[in-house]
Symmetry: C2
Subunit: 291 residues, 2 copies
């Protein structure tokens, strides 16, 4: 069994990006600049944004964090987005989700200029991804593809079972896995809450991508010998032994599943770090497209 080390790969990619930034600066180009909008003080969002800011430093990007209290109006947020769209120094920006209930997330996402939408959530980028055109790939699916690529995991003609059909993981990763590309070219099955016989299907899978958000959902009896397991789940479960009071648990019962696998991602340290690195890659791509 090989543990897929997302932390190591992500460090490697950040170093590659930093080298490319050095090269850009040496050519007289401007430093890539990512902005992040954070509304309110949700613990998870604070952590994610802090990780993103730190990743920008590691990649040699300039980063700007824009904070709003959670009583901000939708219009104020839309105005700020319009300003970022128009700002030539900003190569890309993200609005950290979730947003307070009185703000329409979809309206916010669609207000972002697709050319600066480094989260890849704008319908224009989602559609281009589905068609197979150049675009900003959504971060988590792109990170999964990158892991499969870096570990030279053969996906062609393999049966890939995706658990979950969310707009940000399940559906886009299913699309990427079926595209005529490498990694890709897999037979893809998408299971979800309405699937009555998930275990029967996962037992046929050469590759399982679990993105349900249900801790420990994938048990050893659901997995074929030598399967590849990608665990996207990151549910916070209470843990009084930790200073934070919680720990992250994946969708896979790691201890019992790992011995059966050929490859498996841990949680944390698997897909998570790759998600942030995908955002960095998109920001670099945005900066290069403008230069």
């Amino acid at each position: 069994m090989t543990l897929i080390d997302g932390k190591k790969i992500s460090d490697q990619i950040k170093a590659e990006i930093a080298a490319q930034v050095e090269q850009m600066l040496a050519e007289g180009k401007k430093r890539p600049h990512l902005a992040a909008i954070l509304v309110g003080h949700d613990g998870g969002s604070e952590t994610y944004v802090a990780h993103k800011v730190k990743a920008c430093e590691q990649c040699g990007f300039k980063s700007t964090l824009i904070r709003f209290e959670d009583n901000i109006t939708e219009q104020t947020l839309l105005d700020r987005i319009a300003a970022l769209n128009a700002d030539p120094d900003i190569d890309g920006f993200i609005v950290q989700l979730p947003l307070p209930r009185h703000i329409s997330e979809q309206k916010i996402i669609e207000a972002i200029d697709p050319a600066k939408d480094v989260d890849g959530f704008h319908p224009q980028n989602v559609g281009r991804m589905a068609i197979g055109l150049p675009c900003f790939l959504s971060a988590t699916p792109a990170g999964i593809i990158e892991l499969l690529s870096r570990y030279n995991i053969d996906t062609r003609g393999k049966h890939c079972v995706v658990l979950g059909r969310s707009n940000i993981v399940g559906k886009p990763v299913a699309t990427l896995m079926m595209q005529k590309a490498a990694p890709g070219n897999a037979t893809v099955t998408v299971c979800h809450s309405a699937t009555p016989n998930i275990a029967e299907i996962t037992r046929q899978a050469d590759i399982i991508i679990a993105a349900l958000g249900q801790p420990g959902f994938v048990t050893a009896d659901m997995v074929k010998d030598q399967a590849v397991i990608i665990d996207v789940g990151t549910t916070r479960v209470p843990d009084p032994t930790r200073k934070s009071g919680f720990r992250l648990r994946g969708d896979v019962d790691f201890d019992n599943v790992a011995p059966r696998c050929s490859y498996i991602t841990p949680v944390p340290g698997g897909v998570g770090p790759m998600t942030i690195v995908s955002l960095m890659k998109n920001t670099l791509q945005a900066a290069q497209a403008k230069n």
Copy 2:
């Protein structure tokens, strides 16, 4: 075994649309207007466009057919598209594909205003469909969903196997079949040219949607008893007994497969007429959105 009569359903829907158009006119609104651009004289394209013009008449739409010879420049076509985008009397328009090789189909598709893109091919509409937002659904996938709906075929939790991963049928119909909707909510598997064990997978399918363009590909031994079969294939095969010299063949070996099925679409007269009706529905929707 029930034969899914796409011709009958499509006539029914056209009558429903015509009644809505009458209502719109009675309310003083303008008649919906669809334009179609046809480049060159490809036999298949001529037939499709003629069918679309006829369907417009049946629905009470105004239609305009714009013809170009196949030596037209890309720029001339782009200019015509810009004019249609700007023309307030045109509710929607299509550019019949395929186009001559010297013209980029993708560039043409992306030049169409998404609000008039009644074929649903623009990345903006493809992305909105994937996310589950209101949009113009691509015609063939929408026609398939409509057939399942009109025949009250239960899809929730069923295993739907899609054969083919094209941008205009396989991928979008897979997305629609997995959405939390009715019809939809199915477990969906997409097989394609790189799938080594298609028969093994189709034998597990409650619903097969065949969109490979390989006449007679789905044989009786590949189908579970009481499966639902949707045949999207329409390959022209030579037939000297016909005046046209050809007949249409589906992807399914109909004669041998039909006896095993609960429902099956014939070719022709199944999905084909529904595709045109979807275009009419999108045009009505475009006209209503503007009114």
